[in-house]
Amino acid sequence: MSNLKPLNRFQMAWRAAQDIQDGMLVNLGLGIPVLASDYLPAGRDVFIQSENGIIGAGPEAAADSADPDLVDAGSRRVTLRAGASIVNSADSFAMIRGGHIDVTILGCFEVAENGDMANWDSRVPDKGPLVGGAMDLAACARSVWVIMEHNTRGGGARLLRRCTLPLTAVSCVDRIYTDIAVLSVGASGFVVHEILDGMERDALQARTGAPIAFAPDCQPLVAPPIEVPG
């Protein structure tokens, strides 16, 4: 094994955040994706949509000003940005289903080379299902980006020819940000746009469960140091 250092989850969120453009309406999933809002490039003017109806969610509220009636999709007590508005759930999902969300960034278990996505059911015995808004977002956002570790804890591939876990939506994923690569899903499968600085291409292929192609302008993946708290 090499001593290459993969991105931590904050650096993965940072990397995805760099691709969010001015004026976008963005929905961030629970877990790593929601961290991306902390790493937007300075001055970028973006509205964060939360599935419970916020258009223009701001950072998490300070403890002394948190309002229990102002929460985001993860039940966090949040703030509003300037220009924010709030709608009810039916209207929020009309916004999502209607294709008005420019980008959703979601956590994920598996992506297939045709863009199929599995992110809602990891088959934990006896635990009840929890789908929330994942299927609506994956099926209907204009662009679907995924942030996830490239491999499972046991070293298994998460990028596959076909998903093994229950699907969230078919042929929906556009981009994947992992701890060792940035990829897109093209007409003929996974295309690598960035590979961890210093990593051999064969090593990336060996950790991927489907054939990968490399974009002509493939770059090294680098991120600034960000400490993982405690």
């Binding site: 759930s89 039916a90 999902f93 059911d121 006896d126 789908v131 929330g132 299927m135 609506d136 078919v170």
Partner: protein, 222 residues
């Protein structure tokens, strides 16, 4: 007689609810749960309820009271997972086959309720196509894309939480308190709101977020 939808007690608010009722419960993430009314409902000798609620297990809701007292036959929701490794009351009953579950994508749940209140019996949506949640469903292709048929939800009772009410039942909501409340009120035969404040004068028109025609009764809670 002049319209006045305010009621004096939870018992009056819930009068007429019967066994087998389909009950729509608003709330998301701690905002908009009608917890006073739900606690009162849990004290009634009711059986075979169907709950339509976004989460069957949210720790800030009181939905679990209805479930653990054996009042619920079926839950229709988008989330039924308890936090942590311990199984929630819902999960224990579901494992034992003592409660039914229909799990839906959240937007499909919201739209089924909206459609129920809007006189649309069913609709096609691309959400959920090709997944386990829509197996066996009727499908149809529009604009080159597969859609699944989803049927509307209507209910016997909706319990929603709002901020202010006037005697006509007009409601305002604080921030994300509205979530499922407005559409649930439109889809239920009896819509009951719990509110923080009853206004003595009519709420000014631009502030009304749910017209009182959809609200049958409201109860002021502290």
């Amino acid at each position: 007689m002049a319209i006045d939808k305010r009621v004096a007690s939870a018992a009056e608010a819930l009068g007429g609810v019967a066994d087998g009722a389909v009950v729509l419960l608003s709330g998301f993430g701690g905002a908009g749960f009608a917890n006073v009314l739900v606690r009162a409902l849990a004290e009634m000798p009711l059986r075979d309820l169907t709950l339509v609620v976004n989460s069957a297990t949210h720790p800030l809701s009181q939905t679990h009271l209805l479930i653990e007292r054996g009042m619920v036959r079926k839950v229709v929701c988008s989330a039924a997972r308890g936090r942590g490794k311990e199984l929630s009351v819902f999960e224990q009953l579901f494992k034992q086959g003592r409660i039914e579950l229909e799990c839906l994508p959240q937007g499909t749940l919201a739209e089924k309720i909206r459609a129920g209140g809007a006189g649309i019996p069913a609709f096609y949506t691309p959400v959920g196509f090709g997944t386990d949640l829509t197996k066996g469903r009727e499908t149809r292709t529009y604009n080159g894309r597969e859609h699944v048929l989803e049927e509307a939800i209507t209910g016997d009772l909706a319990l929603i939480r709002a901020d202010r009410a006037d005697r006509y039942g007009n409601l305002t909501f604080r921030f994300t308190q509205q979530n499922f409340g407005p559409s649930m009120a439109t889809a239920a035969k009896l819509a009951v709101a719990e509110v923080r404040v009853a206004e003595d004068t009519p709420i000014a028109q631009p502030e009304v977020q749910l017209p009182g025609v959809y609200v049958d009764r409201f109860l002021v809670v502290d």
